[in-house]
């Protein structure tokens, strides 16, 4: 079966090389995020998503309340952290900023024209806005590509000592599971885009069509982070990290956690905290919109949420 798959993939690549097709995708505007009708809700109502916009003049109590900058992954939207927000509203006294990555949550064309540095900009904007308003307990939670973006911010010292208290990485991507991504420079221009297998719900919150240009950006980002980890760097002073990594993840290879463990150290040189999770999901904290969710998946999500909130409360 595996050999057949490999042969089939090679055959598809060969046919596409010959035909050199790179058509634009057929987008259903009424049901897909890719179209020009469905946009991320944070674009219309930023005050419902960003603490810096929601609270004009924070009180001293608010300034000392933990704020989590929760950021989604490649091709996703703020939807990815809705469940955490709902869970936190019921179980903790914290503030959450759900940041929409640059180039995301809009049309396919806007996504196609964005770079990974564009994706990163809103994270820094919200971080700086919170700092300017005097928040003292800022934290970060990222899923998948957001983790790579945060690692770059740390490596380049854009987030320095005492900037963040806790960083939570959910299924960080450093090594992609689909190794054909490493060939995107070769096959990308011929394919034009890659189609995901979204559920009907996911179609409203995740791009169905991934432009090859953005996949190149993703590869450039992950490759940079991999090299940074290879050379090694430390977390800023007074910043703690917890990594949660699914072991059977078909998007972010679990070996990404090994690279993090080897390449990133706490400020004092000690090893960072990594929890490997026996799951087949990519981004174990997002269950809404998926088909075939098991009780085990629900338990894992709750365990991770509780663990994050417990760490924040300490």
């Amino acid at each position: 079966m595996k050999a057949k798959n490999i042969l089939f993939k090679l055959f598809v690549i060969f046919v596409l090389l010959l035909t050199g097709c790179s058509d634009e995708p057929t987008i259903d505007n009424s049901t897909m995020l890719d179209g020009d009708q469905i946009f991320d809700a944070s674009i219309y109502n930023p005050e419902n998503y960003l603490v810096s916009v929601a609270i004009d003049n924070p009180t001293t109590i608010q300034k000392n309340t933990p704020v989590i900058i929760a950021t989604h992954g490649y091709s996703a939207t703020t939807f990815e952290w809705d469940e955490f927000r709902n869970y936190s509203d019921m179980n903790a006294n914290i503030l959450i900023s759900q940041v929409l990555l640059g180039g995301h949550g809009r049309t396919y064309e806007e996504f196609k024209n964005s770079t990974w540095k564009d994706w990163q900009t809103p994270i820094m904007n919200e971080y700086n806005a919170l700092r300017d308003k005097g928040y003292t307990n800022i934290n970060f939670a990222g899923s998948s590509t957001a983790c790579a973006l945060m690692l770059d911010l740390i490596k380049t010292n854009k987030i320095g000592d005492n900037g963040l208290k806790h960083i939570f990485l959910i299924d960080p991507i450093v090594i992609p599971s689909d190794k054909s991504l490493t060939l995107i420079g070769l096959i990308g221009p011929m394919l034009g885009y890659f189609e995901s297998t979204n559920t009907t719900t996911e179609d409203s919150y995740y791009y169905r069509f991934k432009p090859q240009e953005t996949l190149k950006e993703l590869l450039n980002l992950t490759n940079k982070v991999r090299k940074d980890l290879q050379n090694g760097f430390n977390l800023p002073q007074n910043t703690q990290m917890k990594v949660y990594k699914s072991t059977n993840d078909d998007v972010a290879d679990a070996v990404s956690a090994v690279l993090l463990y080897k390449g990133l150290k706490n400020n004092d040189g000690s090893k960072i905290n990594i929890q490997m999770i026996d799951s087949k999901l990519h981004v174990v904290t997002r269950l809404d919109g998926r088909d075939n969710i098991t009780q085990e998946d629900i338990d894992i999500q709750k365990q991770v949420f509780d663990d994050m909130l417990m760490i924040i409360a300490q």
Binding site: I175, Q230, G232, D250, A254, V255, V258, L259, K280
Partner: protein, 194 residues
């Protein structure tokens, strides 16, 4: 830990098997050598995986007039990040033990295009019990093609590009086993039958 110990044992057995087979060839009498060996070369190999590590090591290449009239090359190589990207860095330490069988065109000329099939064993050392559940070994299966150039001195250079058919998928296989790789090998001819 037990799993990693077994992996190491497998790795050692595999290495010994290949080294033994080449030592056997080398240990033959000069008469049988003349019968069987056309060229015996030993050299260094540098390998780069597309968007990943440098893996360097040793390679042996052998041809025989009794095997497809010297057109078929048999070889063994060991390349590792320990002698490449992992030297003094945090790159994963990984080893490739590879047996190859190549068909060389224009085998009597200096410049010989070739195509090779390779198989062997891959091992990655994750260095912590936390990652014991992750796959860190694989059977290697790859093809590569390139050119070989034999100088007037006993030096031969091989350049090739190859494709691993059995890469990691996130669900199975080691994550740092990537599809596309490039190789440069520089051989010294130990024995040559004119």
């Amino acid at each position: 830990m037990k799993k990693k110990k077994n992996d190491l044992q497998k790795k050692l057995v595999f290495t010994l098997f290949f080294l033994a087979s080449f030592l056997c060839i080398e240990a033959q009498t000069s008469e049988s050598k003349k019968d069987w060996v056309k060229d015996l070369k030993i050299g260094v190999r540098m390998q780069k995986a597309q968007k990943l590590y440098w893996e360097n090591g040793l390679a042996i290449d052998f041809t025989s007039p009794k095997i497809a009239n010297n057109r078929i090359h048999l070889g063994f190589s060991y390349v590792t990040t320990r002698l490449g990207s992992a030297m003094g860095t945090n790159a994963i330490k990984q080893d490739n033990f590879l047996f190859n069988l190549g068909y060389y065109f224009r085998h009597q000329k200096k410049l010989q295009p070739f195509i090779r099939a390779n198989t062997g064993y891959f091992y990655a050392d994750y260095e912590s019990d936390i990652f014991d559940d992750l796959s860190n070994t694989a059977v290697l299966l790859s093809i590569d093609t390139g050119v070989s150039y034999e100088f007037n001195t006993p030096i031969t250079i091989n350049l090739s590009a190859g494709y691993n058919l059995n890469t990691g998928t996130g669900v199975s296989g080691p994550g740092t086993l990537y599809p596309l790789f490039y190789q440069l090998s520089v051989f010294y001819t130990l024995f040559k039958k004119s």
